[in-house]
């Protein structure tokens, strides 16, 4: 018998430089410290059954990371949370745990978009920031290059909204496509296209959107 649990967790500044593979390894160890009966794949090279919805870009924080873990026996989500709490490194915290059907669609397949709130250091006025965003949204295409490959960034940005502008920073909410087949937008690429390639920025993931 197996049971599948969906964990939503947060990542703060402390762990913003931990890459995705390192985070996966960290979770394996967290689950072992919590002494939870994680199911392993069969075969020559058994791996723990842990899956993540989406890799968080290095340098970002998040309040909505989503992962699924399969256990070999049932446990009440509240008990699970209690066992995980002391096993977590500083900077990672549980937001919620729910049991999901074993045959629910894979997280990565169901993921559609990710929403970020980006705070970028800039002295531009509200009007200037608004105009940059409008120009971005009005463009029919925005060709960019990443790791030697050319791609169109524009269709990957579903929405951009200016939230606040101060004398030294601007805050923009962006909903970007995060779709296994249609493509994934990166918030730092959007910033670069807006003209802030090198400006210091804090990027925070607020929500992941799934097909329901």
């Amino acid at each position: 018998m197996s049971n599948r649990y969906r964990i939503i967790f947060t990542r703060d500044r402390t762990v913003r430089f931990v890459g995705h593979l390192d985070l996966a390894k960290t979770w394996e160890r967290v689950l072992r410290r919590a002494d939870l009966p994680v199911a392993f794949s069969q075969g020559f090279h058994p791996l723990p059954k842990i899956t993540f919805a989406s890799a968080l870009p290095v340098g970002c924080t998040s309040e909505a990371e989503v992962m699924d873990v399969v256990l070999t026996e049932p446990i009440a989500p509240s008990d699970m949370a209690a066992r995980l709490a002391p096993a977590l490194p500083a900077g990672i915290a549980i937001a919620s745990i729910t049991e999901v059907p074993l045959n629910a669609p894979a997280l990565q397949a169901a993921l559609r978009w990710a929403e970020y709130v980006v705070t970028v250091e800039t002295d531009e006025t509200r009007e200037q920031v608004e105009s940059l965003v409008q120009t971005f949204l009005a463009a029919p295409s925005l060709m960019r290059e990443r790791r030697g490959k050319s791609y169109d960034l524009r269709p990957l940005a579903l929405s951009l909204i200016v939230k606040a502008v101060s004398a030294s920073s601007a805050q923009i909410a962006m909903r970007l496509l995060a779709d296994a087949s249609a493509g994934t937008g990166r918030p730092d690429e959007v910033l670069a296209a807006l003209g802030w390639a090198d400006a210091p920025a804090q990027i925070h993931r607020r929500e992941l959107g799934f097909e329901t």
């Binding site: 430089f17 931990v18 890459g19 390192d22 985070l23 160890r29 410290r33 020559f44 490194p89």
Partner: protein
């Protein structure tokens, strides 16, 4: 710059460097005490990158011990990779501790681990970046006390210019005494002039060597004449420290976020080695052999899995097969953790079929290779280095390994043993191919033999300390023979670059005159010398030449039996006379059996008589000391 401004600067710097998580701290089980509320601040420094430093057991032990002391905090710092160093310098950010981001200069104590010589220049980089004067003679009451320990410090004098005090031997007890001494004096001396008294009192602690209290004299030919105390009351020879019984093992290892060299928890099952291999520095300096009880090891593994969540636990020792209860231990671990997705590694196994039985009991999931260290490929050479096994036993063991499912065998050899010929090196190739042939009979083309071939460096405090490093011409000839022989499929060779070996040789056999050379080489840009892509031997040669020193003098000069060595004032407990006798036996092709079978009176027992007498018989592999003998000695 204070901790808050360092944090702020890091926000800008870290996105620009490779693997920034190495510089953030915050790992599970790391300990960040309140700086203001803790009176004594120590930082443990490993002079190489984070990935290597995090795999160092010695520092993990000291971190655990110091942080258990009330009123003491111990933090960590590693050498920043050159990209990070450049960013720190550009932003004028000092090198800081990972836990609370304080600059090194604000600590009371900086403790360097020096396991090998090629990281000496990184010590200078770290002091410099940390805002601490490089030279011990230039530090005053505003600066930390800088100490160093680890295997390289059994010959401390090459680093004497930069280190205030060396801790010789095992650090578990002495580190606490060092901290208490500094703390007591700093809180008592009202004038604020604490430094001179601290240094003098540190020299009173057994096992602590304070170089400034010793004068070195040389003969006209450049050899050492004497090392003598220049103040009353400091010992003429500093005897290493040992702990009579292995202290409880560390279980709460720091769990790194990033992949490090060894992603695992470690439990030391035994310290010291009774084999007596003549090239082996560790085997001589870590005597006597002390074993950890099986029950303690099992409890430690249990605690490690719970407290770290690591997927691997390594059982550490210089020679696992020699641990008296190895079968019992391995069987118990196998029974308990089988099917739990925990891999247990058991390095340093003897070349015999019993080792294959042991490894099989621990086999879990994925099978990595099987490693053996024959060190030499002919029986005559194995006799000379006192690591004797018959050829047939090597092949029989290899066959057994392949037959039980392993497809890869790794063999460690050394070239450049005393009086080695090209025939001895050819024999390495022949033996490796014979092993591969055994593998092919079972696995066909999937069989693989990896050969790690380092170059022998005659190390201080070993029976081979009188011998010379092989000539560069000879090393190159031997390496090209091996490269030629190991071209085919199924064989892979790795070797040590001769420049790397030369550096290791003259630094490990050097004297105090190397201090200015290390400083100059560092000024010329030397850093990360243990990394082939960084080592600039020309800079070292220039630094030596500027100080009228010759690396060959240190590395390649056979030394007369009567010569005074730069490390003779450091007492490892093993007598020089014993080492000399063992060297002569080597030249005659004579071996010594494992000293568990018969005591050869190496000197370790009389050196630590008092400790041995108060230790249970089974705690040491040396024979118990009778009180009568002690009485005779004291008379």
């Amino acid at each position: 710059m204070d901790a808050t401004s360092i944090e702020k600067n890091l926000d800008r710097i870290l996105p620009k460097v490779d693997k920034p998580a190495r510089y953030t701290g915050g790992e599970f089980n790391s300990i960040a005490k309140n700086w203001e509320a803790t009176p004594f601040h120590a930082v443990l420094a490993f002079p190489d990158i984070y990935e290597l430093g995090m795999s160092n057991l010695g520092l993990a032990i000291l971190y655990d011990i110091l942080n258990r002391q009330p009123g003491v905090l111990a933090e960590r710092v590693y050498t920043p990779w050159p990209d990070m160093e450049a960013q720190l310098r550009a932003a004028s950010v000092p090198l800081y501790s990972l836990e609370t981001k304080h600059p090194l200069s604000e600590f009371d104590l900086i403790g360097f681990s020096l396991p090998y010589e090629q990281l000496y220049t990184n010590v200078l980089t770290m002091l410099d970046l940390g805002g601490v004067p490089l030279l011990a003679s230039e530090r005053d009451e505003r600066h930390p006390i800088v100490i160093a320990g680890g295997h390289a410090t059994y010959n401390p004098d090459p680093m004497a210019d930069f280190i205030d005090a060396f801790v010789i031997g095992e650090g578990e007890e002495v580190i606490v005494e060092v901290v208490e001494t500094i703390r007591e004096i700093k809180s008592r001396v009202e004038s604020g002039e604490w430094r001179a008294e601290v240094l003098r009192r540190l020299a009173d602690i057994p096992g602590v060597y304070v170089p400034r209290f010793y004068d070195v004299e040389y003969h006209a030919d450049g050899t050492l004449a004497s090392v003598t105390p220049n103040v009353e009351g400091v010992p003429a020879r500093v005897t290493k420290r040992i702990t009579p019984i292995l202290p409880p093992p560390v279980t709460r290892f720091i769990v790194p976020f990033v992949d490090v060299t060894h992603n695992r928890a470690v439990v030391e099952i035994q310290r010291g080695c009774t084999r007596g291999c003549r090239f082996c520095h560790a085997g001589m300096v870590t005597r006597p052999v002390r074993e950890r009880p099986v029950e303690e090891i099992l409890q430690a593994i249990d605690a490690m899995v719970r407290e770290t969540g690591f997927e691997e636990v390594a059982l550490l020792s210089l020679s696992s097969s020699d641990y008296s209860h190895i079968s019992e231990l391995v069987r118990a671990i196998g029974d308990k953790y089988s099917g739990k997705h925990l891999s247990i590694s058991l390095p340093s196994l003897r070349i015999e079929s019993f080792s294959v039985d042991l490894a099989e009991m621990l086999k879990e999931g994925r099978q990595t290779g099987f490693t053996f260290a024959p060190e030499a490929a002919t029986e005559a050479m194995r006799r000379r280095i006192n690591k004797f096994i018959p050829d047939q036993q090597m092949l029989d063991t290899a066959r057994e390994v392949f037959a039980r499912g392993w497809r890869t065998i790794k063999l460690y050899f050394m070239i450049g043993h005393p009086d080695e010929t090209l025939d001895d090196v050819q024999a390495i190739a022949d033996l490796a191919k014979a092993v591969l042939k055994e593998g092919r009979k079972i696995h066909g083309k999937a069989a693989q033999v990896n050969i790690g071939c380092s170059t022998f460096v005659p190390k201080p405090h070993t029976p081979f300390q009188w011998t010379a490093l092989d000539s560069e011409e000879s090393i190159r000839a031997k390496q090209s023979l091996l490269k030629r022989e190991f071209r085919g499929p199924g064989l892979k060779l790795s070797w040590t670059e001769p420049e790397q070996t030369l550096l290791e040789a003259f630094l490990s056999r050097g004297d105090r005159r190397l201090g200015p050379v290390i400083l100059r080489a560092w000024q010329l840009g030397s850093k990360f010398d243990a990394w082939d892509e960084h080592l600039n031997i020309a800079a070292w040669k220039q630094a030596l030449a500027e100080h009228r020193l010759d690396p060959e003098f240190y590395a390649r000069r056979p030394r007369p039996m009567a010569e005074v060595f730069p490390w003779d004032h450091i007492d490892i407990g093993v007598r020089k006379k014993y080492l000399a006798q063992d060297y002569q036996m080597s030249q005659a092709g004579e071996t010594r059996v494992d000293c568990r079978e018969r005591c050869f009176a190496c000197g370790i027992l009389p050196a630590f008589n008092h400790l041995r007498m108060n230790t249970p018989a089974e705690a040491w592999e040396c024979p118990p000391v009778e009180r009568r003998m002690t009485a005779l000695r004291d008379e």
